[in-house]
């Protein structure tokens, strides 16, 4: 019953987010601030992780090719498929649930604990629109960093494959270009946009409706990470079935 009540509260929150918009001149600066914090602030860690995961995928694939009948370009092909289909959109979103999600929950939760949200309410400001809407808009740029993650991941695979002696550059590039289906990128970006909405709203929900003090802010951040990850994993399954099944 608690889960149902939470889902209901979440739906009501989403409705409230889009009601009574904040003045555009203020909203504009809030959106730019969130883009800086959520998008550009995450770029470094995603590039770092993507490069090394791409490298590991390439090495693992190469080490598992034992038969001479399997073409050498499989390393590039497998790296591209893994990165574009799953690693960049899904794995990166789980990482973002930890980085961005806990930041959103703890910052909004702290505002709740220190009565800053009550102060917004008293002034007649729609606190949900003021706090959550800019995050949703900022995370519309999330596919932009996922595209970079795809590029860097494949580059990491090439780097590890070629410089680790597991593949030649020509074989790797041939594999990357082999049987390329453009819809796979579209599929990845559709998933990314859905996950972006989840990343902005579920942590906000846990922060906005939390009760208690500093300890509860920490607990809310953890709960938010767990639920954001769970929802991303479930939606990943549903979207894959719908779009590729």
């Amino acid at each position: 019953m608690n889960y149902l009540a939470s889902i209901g509260s979440y739906a009501i929150m989403i409705k409230e987010v889009f009601k009574k918009p904040t003045k555009w001149s203020i909203m504009k600066s809030l959106i730019l601030k969130e883009i800086d914090e959520l998008i550009f602030g995450s770029l470094g860690i995603l590039i770092f992780i993507s490069f090394f995961i791409g490298g590991v995928v390439a090495i693992q694939t190469a080490l598992n090719i034992t038969s001479e009948l399997i073409p050498k370009n499989l390393v590039g092909f497998a790296t591209r498929q893994s990165i574009i289909l799953e690693f960049a959109p899904t794995f990166c979103s789980i990482i973002m649930a930890g980085k961005v999600g806990s930041y959103i929950t703890s910052s909004i939760g702290t505002m709740r604990v220190t009565e800053q949200i009550d102060a917004l309410d008293v002034m007649g400001v729609n606190a949900l629109n003021y706090l959550v809407f800019p995050k949703i808009i900022a995370l519309l740029l999330y596919p932009f960093i996922i595209a970079i993650s795809m590029y860097v991941g494949i580059f990491g695979g090439w780097f590890a494959g070629v410089f680790g002696g597991f593949s030649t550059s020509a074989d790797f590039v041939e594999g990357v270009q082999l049987d390329f289906i453009p819809f796979h990128v579209t599929y990845a970006f559709i998933k990314t946009l859905v996950f972006a909405f989840v990343l902005a709203t579920i942590p906000s929900f846990h922060g906005f409706y939390m009760k208690g003090g500093a300890l509860e802010v920490g607990k809310a951040a953890t709960t938010s990470f767990v639920w954001t990850s769970v929802v991303i994993i479930i939606l990943n399954y549903i979207l894959t079935q719908l779009l590729l099944g």
């Binding site: 009574k20 220190t114 009565e115 800053q116 102060a119 309410d121 008293v122 002034m123 007649g124």
Partner: protein, 255 residues
């Protein structure tokens, strides 16, 4: 003027407010006192419209809050200023940003007009040279002054303060109390202050409502509170040695 008519508020099985009725007059500093857990904060949040009473009505100059549309309620809230117990300043904004925030949200003033207004109210609360500082860089007393400046920047009709001098040293607490009273007179607004500080009662209490376990146990003025025979009030007022001595002196003087 705020008229409270027989309000009840419960949270699950916890009955916090049980039939409170009172009137808070314009131009007066009205105090709500009582021990921790007596329902003061819930009562104040009902006056602000943050909680809806389960039963009864609250009328702000004839406008019954629960009967207003959402838009009218939001407009009414723009007539209210609130000073929170912990100041509730936005920590991502400077002092000036905090004070200008309501103006930016609800007025069409130019930036320089807003800055002039922020300067004016910050001077009014005796805060000079703190405009560009962040809340974490100023003292608790200064934070309270910023909170008061932010509360009055829109020229409110109603000012609410939740334990405005908690956590402050006695001297700063008196300064904040006096500031609230001066502003109440100067702007002719209806001020309601939640407190359990008897010094505040002596300093600024023009009308006092005493709550105990969610019930209005007593109401009167600061002169009457020291003469009342109500046991709950006297237990509360004379709980400290200082006030016991004050009472003793009062009795000796009278005799």
């Amino acid at each position: 003027m705020i008229e409270v008519n027989d309000i009840y508020k419960s949270f699950g099985d916890a009955h916090v407010l049980k039939g409170i009725s009172t009137v808070f007059d314009k131009g007066k500093t009205n105090l709500v006192i009582g021990q921790s857990g007596s329902g003061k904060t819930v009562f104040l949040k009902c006056l602000l419209g943050l909680f809806s009473p389960d039963k009864g009505t609250i009328s702000h100059d004839g406008r019954i809050y629960s009967q207003l549309s959402t838009k009218e309620q939001r407009n009414l809230r723009q007539d209210m200023g609130m000073v929170f117990q912990g100041s509730a300043l936005f920590d991502s904004m400077t002092v000036e940003g905090n004070v200008m925030f309501p103006l930016e949200m609800f007025t069409k003033q130019s930036h320089s007009e807003m800055q002039d207004r922020a300067d004016f109210v910050l001077k009014r609360v005796n805060l000079i040279d703190a405009h560009k500082k962040y809340p974490s860089e100023i003292s608790g007393g200064m934070q309270k002054r910023v909170a008061i400046a932010r509360a009055i920047v829109m020229n409110p009709t109603y000012l609410f303060c939740d334990e405005p001098n908690s956590g402050l040293d006695p001297r700063t607490a008196i300064i904040i109390d006096n500031l609230i009273q001066e502003i109440t007179k100067e702007y002719d607004i209806t001020t309601v202050v939640n407190t359990h500080d008897m010094n505040s009662v002596m300093e600024i209490g023009e009308k006092i409502v005493f709550l105990k376990n969610g019930i209005k146990e007593w109401e009167g003025t600061k002169d009457e509170i020291f003469k009342t025979d109500n046991e709950a009030v006297t237990n509360f007022v004379y709980s400290s040695e200082l006030f016991k001595k004050v009472k003793q002196m009062y009795i000796e003087e009278r005799d």
